[in-house]
């Protein structure tokens, strides 16, 4: 164990009173197991296969602070503001603390009447300890990993969303995650989403960074989707070069459920997204897609695992990267088909364009199959823009820069088209276009959030 880990082990041991005092019972109950794991294993070492391209340990070497006393940094009105003005239920996660804007309280009451629970996981765990405890940290067990353990050890708050059986929510819940601390700090938001049988809901998570100091967020999101349920999860990252984002997302899907995950990285510093999906009921369908637009020295590493544990499930995976300048992209995707998971259909595609001379792309699409009656494929390619297409556009009087932008836009459009909310799709298209033009994609602010 090196000093990197031991400093956090020391903090935990020394301040465990503070951590437990500030935490709530349900979350406190899991801390010790997580700590034991972390003590034994530490962060993945620099040669660990799963973290080949993201050196986790080095990230934690930086001198970040841990906000164990839950000190509130001054917030400004400017903070509560969204970049994707769509018709949605708006809420905020500032560093680790959950906020509900005053003006949207009325809308939330409508949802509450249907039995929907939404809010801070701290509060919910106090109000409904049994409900939260029956899901909290349940998606991990054998799958524990250093980042999840770290989060479980230190996390104090996060987002909780519970949709009872049969409830349909048409508009998405928009959760805006902002880092606001004025000192370099680590936040450990912990999110939990439960979608009951026959229910329908969608969540849009936007990550922003307003402060200009180094920040590291180590998010864990657990999602449970019931039978015949519909769930969409969109994640949009638009932060800055100083932010490090580590995200662990785990999804458990029951029979005949339909889930869409779309993970979009427009602007960031260093990101590592672990996405793990367990298809646990027959007839479950998963669409997992994502795109990365990278320039300067952005680093984006997506790692996905799709486990087909039962027969007759379908998974479709599509990830696209456009890498400019000296940005670095990594994609590793594993499709696992268990022994008796017959009639599985699993498709995985990863396509990348390296535009910058110093751009790097590492891709590892993997299939692990133990059943014979399956249709599985994966494809990956890394290349440049099609010269003939570029020529075609230029010969029709479109300037080179514009033509390149058009082609790059068309390239990632496949991913955007998967978005099932029209207004969000339009908005994202606009943001992506602005991004390619090098304009700020940040919203100037409109009535939606003022």
């Amino acid at each position: 164990m090196s000093t990197t880990e031991s400093q956090y082990i020391d903090i935990y041991e020394k301040y465990s009173d503070t951590i437990f005092k500030n935490g709530v019972a349900v979350m406190n109950d899991c801390r010790q197991i997580a700590f034991d794991y972390f003590k034994d294993n530490g962060f993945p070492h620099s040669r660990a296969e799963l973290y080949r391209h993201s050196k986790i340990k080095e990230l934690f070497d930086f001198d970040y602070g841990l906000n164990l006393n839950r000190v509130k940094f001054p917030t400004s009105n400017n903070l509560f503001h969204c970049d994707v003005p769509i018709n949605s239920y708006l809420c905020f996660l500032v560093d680790e603390a959950f906020y509900l804007p005053e003006k949207s309280k009325l809308e939330w009451d409508d949802l509450a009447k249907k039995g929907v629970l939404i809010g801070s996981i701290r509060e919910m765990a106090q109000k409904y300890p049994d409900l939260v405890a029956s899901y909290y940290h349940k998606a991990y067990g054998e799958k524990m990993d250093a980042l999840v353990a770290f989060n479980t050890m230190f996390s104090q708050d996060g987002f909780f969303f519970y949709v009872p059986d049969g409830v349909v929510i048409d508009n998405p819940i928009q959760l805006i995650c902002v880092s606001n601390a004025n000192l370099p700090s680590i936040s450990n938001p912990r999110n939990l989403v439960v979608v009951g049988d026959n229910a329908k809901a969608s969540v849009l998570m936007c990550a922003h960074s307003l402060s200009n100091v180094e920040s590291l967020s180590n998010t864990v999101t657990e999602v449970f989707v019931g039978e015949n349920a519909h769930f969409d999860y969109y994640k949009l990252e638009s932060t800055n070069a100083k932010s490090v984002s580590l995200s662990s997302f785990v999804l458990k899907q029951k029979g005949n459920s339909n889930v869409l995950i779309n993970d979009m990285t427009l602007q960031n510093g260093f990101s590592r997204n672990n996405i793990s999906v367990d298809l646990e009921g027959e007839g479950a369908e998963l669409t997992l897609c994502g795109m990365v637009i990278g320039d300067s020295e952005q680093h984006t590493d997506n790692h996905t695992v799709v486990n087909h544990n039962v027969p007759n499930c379908v998974s479709k995976e599509l990830f696209k990267y456009v890498l400019n300048d000296a940005s670095k992209g990594a994609f590793s995707g594993r499709v696992f088909v268990a022994k008796d998971a017959q009639k599985t259909a699993a498709y995985q595609t990863n396509k990348n364009i390296c535009v910058g001379k110093d751009a790097k792309m590492f891709t590892e699409p993997q299939l692990e199959i133990y059943a014979d009656d399956v249709k599985c494929s994966h494809g990956a390619s890394t290349g440049q823009m099609d010269e003939t297409a570029l020529f075609y556009l230029r010969s029709r009087g479109i300037p080179e820069a514009e033509a390149k932008m058009l082609l790059m836009f068309a390239f990632v459009n496949d991913v955007i088209e998967n978005i099932r909310i029209d207004s969000l799709q339009d908005k994202i298209k606009l943001m992506v276009e602005k991004r390619f033009r090098g304009e700020s994609s940040l919203c100037k602010g409109c009535n939606a959030c003022k």
Partner: protein, 479 residues
């Protein structure tokens, strides 16, 4: 009926499972510095080679066996292996008459063209039994062209400068655990040197056979193709049936200079173990080629049907500009066999190209993995790669896995990878049945069609053998 197909998959016997009754000279079991010195002494090696071995041995003792492969390997006791076993024959036979008749019988059983094919096919054969190269045919004819084709030991004696220059230049002893082990204890192998501008008029070929019990085979092959030369090299492997597992850890190094080409083909049919997965060879081989010169080319073709565990990645380092690397592979696993095989293409030069075709077939309880790496270095402008790896599953208890890695550090590279996994479709079988082809024949037909793309790349004789091997390996696998 369907189940029979799976259950019967393995009814065919391993036809190479005989032991040759030749007196063998072995040295004590186990591995230590003295054993390394003893092997070197037996071979009458010069000091520099002994030193090389000792350095490798010292390095090996610092290493641990790697565990990253998708294989379950029972612990290997490296002290329980004979590291040297030589058939006791008279000193360096000059003609076939001098070779032990028992040995000739063995090779005849194997169908090795030691005698007959001398005139028929013009194949020059170097047969390596256990650890010693037995006889190299056709040497005189090759010598006229300046081609050197001899056992490794002979090469050390007669062409020390050449060997010293290239030995370990592609696979250094520090490369990996088994490379270090081999470098310490290798006993013989083949050496080929094709001089400038010479196109080798015949296919060179080596047969490897492990005969004595409890021996490991650690041969070393070194092929150097000088400017503008060409050679096609074949390698075949068999072993007798034994209960215990035997270790085979070889090294193959290919050096290709300007505009030269090496075509390296392997038909690997080591004893795969019985139907319960008992016994069989552990085939842990390091094979690597370096395209040193501009416009050079290396082509690996392999048909892997044997071995209890196959763990190898024939690789190409494309250093010269415009060099080309190719890899064609069919890997068949049955019963409890395991294979983790694939290739590495390291693009360093400009405008380098590589092509990978890998076909995996798994049946019974076997596990078959493709693992490959395509790396494009920062300065390798205009690199191009296409990889295709397909898996065919026969039966619901086997597994097929794909682990490709693509590391692209250059923006002008075009790298593509495609993989599919499926079983033989009922439509295809029905189509054949309808035309009076039995299900068993239909499967043979479909499997052969599936592997055709690779088998076509083999030299003619080998292609016939490979096709037969495929059929035998999957015989009875119908239902």
């Amino acid at each position: 009926m369907k189940n029979n197909f799976v259950n019967d998959v393995t009814d065919s016997d391993y036809k190479y499972g005989f032991v040759t009754d030749v007196e063998t000279e072995v040295i004590p079991k186990g591995l230590n510095e003295d054993i390394v010195r003893l092997i070197s002494e037996k071979k009458g090696e010069p000091d520099w080679l002994l030193e090389y071995r000792l350095k490798a041995f010292k390095h090996w003792t610092t290493l641990e066996m790697p565990e990253w492969a998708h294989l379950s390997i029972p612990p290997i006791n490296y002290q329980d292996i004979y590291y040297y076993a030589a058939p006791k024959t008279k000193e360096s036979p000059k003609s076939l008459d001098e070779v032990d008749p028992e040995l000739i019988k063995t090779f005849n059983k194997l169908g090795i063209p030691l005698e007959e094919q001398k005139s028929l096919a013009g194949v020059a054969v170097d047969a390596v039994m256990d650890s010693v190269s037995v006889k190299t045919t056709y040497k005189e004819n090759l010598a006229e062209l300046g081609i050197i084709f001899c056992s490794f030991n002979e090469a050390v004696k007669n062409y020390p400068d050449l060997v010293r220059q290239y030995l370990g230049s592609v696979v250094p002893y520090t490369d990996n655990f088994f490379a270090a082990l081999n470098a310490a204890v290798f006993s013989d192998g083949s050496f080929v040197y094709i001089p400038k501008g010479v196109r080798c008029p015949m296919e060179l070929s080596t047969y490897f056979r492990i005969n004595a019990a409890n021996t490991g085979q650690f041969e070393r092959t070194l092929i150097v193709a000088d400017d503008d030369s060409y050679v096609s090299y074949l390698e075949g492997c068999t072993a007798p049936m034994r209960d215990e597992n035997q270790l085979h850890a070889a090294i193959v190094e290919l050096v290709v200079l300007d505009r030269a080409e090496i075509k390296y083909s392997t038909v690997q049919n080591w004893y795969p173990g019985d139907k319960e997965g008992k016994g069989g060879i552990y085939n842990f081989v390091t094979k690597r080629a370096i395209c040193k010169g501009d416009h050079s080319k290396v082509s690996w073709t392999q048909v892997e049907t044997g071995s209890a565990i196959t763990w190898k990645y024939p690789s190409c380092i494309l250093l010269g500009d415009n060099s080309v690397g190719e890899f064609y592979s069919v890997a068949v696993t049955n019963n409890y066999q395991q294979a983790d095989t694939g290739t590495k293409m390291i693009h360093l030069g400009k405008n380098t190209k590589s092509h990978i075709v890998s076909k995996g077939i798994s049946a019974g309880y076997s596990q078959n993995s493709y693992r490959g790496l395509v790396r494009v270095a920062k300065k390798a402008d205009g690199a191009r790669n296409f990889s295709q790896c397909d898996s065919l599953l026969l039966g619901d208890k086997c597994g097929a896995h794909t682990f490709p890695y693509m590391d692209i550090n250059n923006d002008s590279a075009v790298v593509e990878h495609e993989a599919t996994t499926s079983k033989i479709s009922e439509d295809q079988i029905f189509y054949c049945n309808q035309r009076g082809i039995s299900t068993e024949d239909a499967i043979g037909l479909i499997v052969n069609g599936y592997a055709k793309e690779v088998i076509n790349k083999l030299p003619m004789e080998f292609a016939v053998e490979a096709q037969k091997l495929l059929q035998i390996s999957l015989e009875g696998s119908v239902g």
